[in-house]
C-alpha cells in the first residue's frame, strides 16, 4: 500500500515538473505575421514540409491503400522529394477501413500541427469519423477514393470545409453502369449482389434505381457476407428470376467466387457479369480464371495512350515494382500534385528560406482550382470539394489476355 502511494506521489511530482517545464518555454519569435483566419504552418529552414496520408494499408482492403500510397510517393519523387527548397516529409496512418480507425488516425494527424495537408481516406466511413477533427485543425484532406455522396453534400452534416476528393461519387458510377447495361448491352432484366459494405450497398442501390428508371426489371437484390465462399446457393436463388445481367460491385475474394460460380449455375450460363471498381485490380482476372473472360467492370478510366499515364506506370514499375494493385492510383497522384501545387501557390517564402503556409488560403486555392490537367482528366473543384471530373470513368471488358496477366484491360465504353 505504502509503496504504491509513494510511487504515485513521485509520479505526481514528475508530472507537475513536466508541466512546469512545458509551460515555461519561450515562444519562438516569428518575423512573418500570420494573418490567416485559421492559422499558418511555419517551416524553418532545413525543416521538412510535412504532408501525411490516411489510408487503409493493412487488412483485406490493403491493396486499395497500397495503390494510393505508391502514387503519393511517386508524386513526391517527381519533385525530387523537395518543395520550395524544403524536403517533403510523408508520414502516414493506417485507417483500417473502419470508422474507429478513421477517427484514431484523424485525431493523431490533426494533433500534429506541422502537417499541412492529408491525402486520404480510402473508405468513406473513415472520412466521416476523421474529417471533423481534421477540418477543425485547419488542414486540408484530399481523398482519392471516397465515393459516398454525403461527404460533399453541403446540406449533410458529414461534409466539412477542407475536404476535397478526386474520386467520382457513387451516384455517378452506379448510373453509368446502369446506363451501359440498359442502353449498350440491351439488357432488360438484371440482378444485383452486394456484400454488406456501405460502398457496395450504395452502388448497387443506385444501379438498381437507375435501371428501373430506364425501364428495366431488377429481378433480385441479393446480399452475401464478407468471408462467404459458397456462392452456389445465392446464385441459384438469383437464377430463379432468370436475369440477363448480374451486377456485383463487391471486392476480392468474394467477387472472383461469385464470378466463377455463376458460370456453373444452370440458368446463369449466359448471364452477363458486371463488377465495379472494387474489383478493378490486376489480381481479379487471375483469381477468377476463365470465368472472367467476357466480364465487364466499371471503374476509373485513364487513357493508357495518354503519355503522362504511360510515364506514371513506368515510374511505378521502376520505383515500386509491378503494376498498381488497384484502380485509384491516378486519383491519388492527382490529389498529391494538387496539394503540392496549391502549397507552392500560397506559400510565403521568407528571406532565410522560412516557408509560411497560410491554411485558409490553401483551402481557397484548392476550392478555386480550375482545369488542372491531371491523369484523370481536367480537374476543377467545386465549392463543396468535389474535384472529380467524371471523365475518368469507363467500362472495361476482360478477355483471356487479362486472365493471362495483362493489365489494365482496354476500355470498352465511355459515357
Amino acid at each position: 500500500m505504502n509503496k504504491r502511494l509513494l510511487a504515485l506521489l513521485s509520479l505526481l511530482v514528475i508530472a507537475s515538473m513536466a508541466l512546469a517545464a512545458c509551460g515555461g518555454g519561450a515562444p519562438a519569435a516569428a518575423a512573418y505575421e500570420c494573418t490567416d483566419a485559421i492559422g499558418c504552418v511555419t517551416v524553418a529552414p532545413g525543416d521538412p514540409i510535412h504532408i501525411a496520408y490516411a489510408l487503409t494499408v493493412s487488412g483485406a482492403t490493403a491493396s486499395l491503400g497500397e495503390d494510393s500510397k505508391g502514387a503519393i510517393e511517386i508524386a513526391i519523387a517527381d519533385r525530387g522529394g523537395e518543395l520550395l527548397g524544403h524536403p517533403i516529409e510523408l508520414t502516414g496512418e493506417d485507417t483500417l477501413c473502419s470508422a474507429e480507425g478513421g477517427q484514431a488516425a484523424g485525431t493523431k494527424l490533426s494533433a500534429d500541427a506541422t502537417i499541412v495537408g492529408i491525402i486520404g481516406t480510402n473508405c468513406s466511413g473513415e472520412a466521416r469519423a476523421a474529417m471533423p477533427l481534421i477540418s477543425q485543425a485547419g488542414m486540408v484532406m484530399i481523398s482519392p477514393s471516397n465515393t459516398n455522396p454525403d461527404l460533399t453534400n453541403p446540406d449533410h452534416p458529414d461534409s466539412h470545409p477542407g475536404y476535397f476528393r478526386t474520386a467520382h461519387n457513387d451516384l455517378f458510377q452506379g448510373r453509368i453502369a446502369a446506363e451501359f447495361a440498359y442502353n449498350e448491352l440491351g439488357v432488360r432484366k438484371a440482378a444485383t449482389i452486394h456484400d454488406g459494405s456501405p460502398y457496395a450497398e450504395s452502388l448497387q442501390k443506385v444501379f438498381a434505381d437507375v435501371f428501373r428508371e430506364l425501364g428495366g426489371e431488377v429481378t433480385a437484390q441479393e446480399a452475401i457476407n464478407v468471408g462467404d465462399t459458397d456462392m452456389g446457393p445465392v446464385l441459384t436463388t438469383i437464377a430463379a428470376g432468370a436475369p440477363e445481367l448480374i451486377y456485383f460491385p463487391i471486392f476480392e475474394p468474394e467477387g472472383p467466387l461469385v464470378a466463377s460460380k455463376a458460370k456453373e449455375i444452370s440458368g446463369l450460363e449466359n448471364a452477363i457479369l458486371m463488377g465495379a471498381d472494387g474489383l478493378f485490380a490486376d489480381t481479379f482476372p487471375e483469381t477468377t480464371g476463365s470465368a472472367a473472360v467476357g466480364m465487364y467492370l466499371s471503374g476509373p478510366y485513364v487513357d493508357v495512350n495518354n503519355s503522362a499515364y504511360g510515364e506514371f506506370l513506368a515510374k511505378w514499375a521502376d520505383q515500386i515494382g509491378g503494376v498498381p494493385p488497384s484502380g485509384f492510383h491516378a486519383h491519388a497522384y492527382d490529389a498529391t500534385n494538387m496539394l503540392l501545387n496549391a502549397i507552392e501557390q500560397v506559400a510565403v517564402v521568407g528571406e532565410d528560406g522560412t516557408v509560411n503556409i497560410p491554411r485558409q488560403a490553401l483551402r481557397d486555392a484548392l476550392y478555386g482550382l480550375k482545369g488542372y490537367a491531371g491523369l484523370t482528366g481536367n480537374l476543377t473543384c467545386d465549392a463543396n470539394g468535389d474535384c472529380a471530373t467524371g471523365e475518368a470513368l469507363g467500362v472495361f471488358k476482360l478477355s483471356q489476355a487479362e486472365v493471362d496477366g495483362a493489365w489494365p484491360p482496354p476500355v470498352f465504353w465511355q459515357p
Partner: protein, 352 residues
C-alpha cells in the same frame, strides 16, 4: 440433475421462443414452396451445394472434436491449420501447373497436393502442440483457450507476412471440372462429387482407425481418463500428438478440397470455416466423431437451403445475408432442447 429440475418460468419462455421460431419456419417454408418460384432441380442443386460444403465442415469439425475429446480445449488455431495446408498446397499446385505436370498426370498431381497439404498441417499442429499447448496441461480451462486464440492470430498473420496479402487462386484442374448429367435436368458438378466422396472416404477411414487400431483404442482410453490410461502403459503425450496429427491431416485435406471447390487461398480463409466447423462439432455433440460428421453435413445443408426455404416466403430481402443467423439460431435451439448435441457428447464424467 437435469431431470430433477423443476419446471420454471425460464423453461416456459424458452418453449414459447422455440415454438414461435418453429412456426415461422413452417410458415416460411410453406409460403416459399407455394410460390413455386424455384424448380425441383434448383432445390436439388441447393442440397448438393450444402452437402459439399457440409462435408468440408465435417472434416474440419473432426479435428476440433478429436482434440476436444482428449484435452477438453477448443483448439481455436485449428482453423489456421486448415489454412496452412491449403496454402502450401497452392504452391505445389501452381508449380506443377506451370511445368505441365498437373495437366499430364492429374491424378498423381492431385495426390501430391493432398500429401503436401496434409503433411504441412500435421507438422504445424505438432509444433503448435509442443510449444504452446503441452506446457499448459493441467492449467485452468481458459488458459489454453486464450493460448489457442493467440496462436491463431499469430499463425494467420505470420502467413500473411511470409506469403503476402494478395489473394491467390488454385489452378483450374480440368480433370475435376465440368458437370456430370444425372437423370432429367439434374446434374452434379464433378468437383462436388469429388469433395463429397473424398470426405466420406476419409471419415470412414477415421472411424475405422479410431475403432480398431491400437492407436485409436489408446486415443479413446486417453479421452476417457488420462491417468488410468497412463497406468495402463499408454504414453499419453504420444497419443495426444497423434491425435493432433490425425485432426490436422484431415484439416489439411479439407483445405485442399475446399480450394478445389472455391480456388481462392487467403491468409484469413480459415477463420469462418473454422468457426462453422466448431459449431458443427458442438451441434453433433462435442467429443463425438460421428456427431461432428453429422453436425457438419447438417450445418452445410441448412446454410444452403435454409435462407431460401425459410425466409424467402416471409418476404425478407436478401435472405442469404442471414444464413449465419439461421445456423446459429438452429444451434441454440438444438442445444436448448438437447443440451449435449444431436448425438450426445461422448466425454467421460470426470470434470475437465
Amino acid at each position: 440433475m437435469q431431470s430433477l429440475k423443476r419446471f420454471s418460468w425460464t423453461d416456459i419462455f424458452m418453449w414459447i421462443v422455440g415454438a414461435t421460431l418453429l412456426l415461422l419456419i413452417v410458415i416460411g417454408s410453406t409460403l416459399t414452396l407455394q410460390q413455386g418460384k424455384y424448380t425441383t432441380v434448383q432445390w436439388f442443386d441447393l442440397a448438393v451445394f450444402g452437402l459439399a460444403q457440409g462435408s468440408v465442415y465435417a472434416l474440419i469439425a473432426l479435428g476440433y472434436t478429436l482434440v476436444y475429446g482428449i484435452l477438453r480445449m477448443i483448439n481455436f488455431a485449428h482453423s489456421e491449420i486448415f489454412m496452412s495446408g491449403a496454402y502450401l498446397g497452392y504452391f505445389v499446385a501452381t508449380s506443377m501447373q506451370r511445368n505441365g505436370f498437373l495437366q499430364e498426370n492429374p491424378l498423381l498431381g492431385i495426390v501430391l497436393i493432398f500429401l503436401t497439404a496434409m503433411t504441412t498441417s500435421a507438422i504445424l499442429a505438432v509444433i503448435l502442440e509442443r510449444i504452446a499447448y503441452r506446457p499448459l496441461r493441467g492449467a485452468p480451462r481458459l488458459v489454453p483457450l486464450i493460448t489457442a486464440i493467440g496462436a491463431s492470430f499469430f499463425l494467420q498473420y505470420t502467413f500473411r507476412g511470409l506469403f503476402g496479402t494478395q489473394n491467390r487462386a488454385y489452378p483450374e484442374i480440368d480433370y475435376i471440372r465440368g458437370a456430370i448429367p444425372l437423370f432429367g435436368d439434374f446434374q452434379i458438378q464433378k468437383i462436388q462429387l469429388v469433395v463429397i466422396i473424398a470426405a466420406a472416404v476419409m471419415m470412414a477411414s477415421l472411424a475405422f482407425f479410431v475403432q480398431y487400431t491400437k492407436t485409436g483404442k489408446a486415443m479413446r482410453a486417453v479421452s476417457e481418463d488420462k491417468n488410468v490410461a497412463a497406468l495402463m502403459g499408454i504414453d499419453v503425450d504420444k497419443i495426444i500428438v497423434r491425435t493432433f496429427v490425425l485432426g490436422a491431416s484431415l484439416a489439411g485435406a479439407a483445405g485442399v478440397l475446399y480450394c478445389f471447390m472455391f480456388r481462392i487461398v487467403t491468409f484469413y480463409m480459415g477463420f469462418i470455416p473454422g468457426l462453422k466447423a466448431f459449431t458443427a462439432a458442438v451441434l453433433g455433440g462435442i467429443g463425438n466423431p460421428p456427431g461432428a460428421m453429422l453436425g457438419g453435413l447438417f450445418l452445410g445443408i441448412f446454410e444452403s437451403l435454409g435462407p431460401t426455404l425459410f425466409l424467402d416466403g416471409l418476404g425478407i430481402p436478401a435472405p442469404y445475408q442471414l444464413k449465419d443467423v439461421i445456423a446459429f439460431t438452429m444451434l441454440v435451439m438444438i442445444l436448448i432442447f438437447r443440451p449435449t448435441g444431436i448425438l450426445g457428447e461422448r466425454l467421460s464424467k470426470t470434470k475437465a
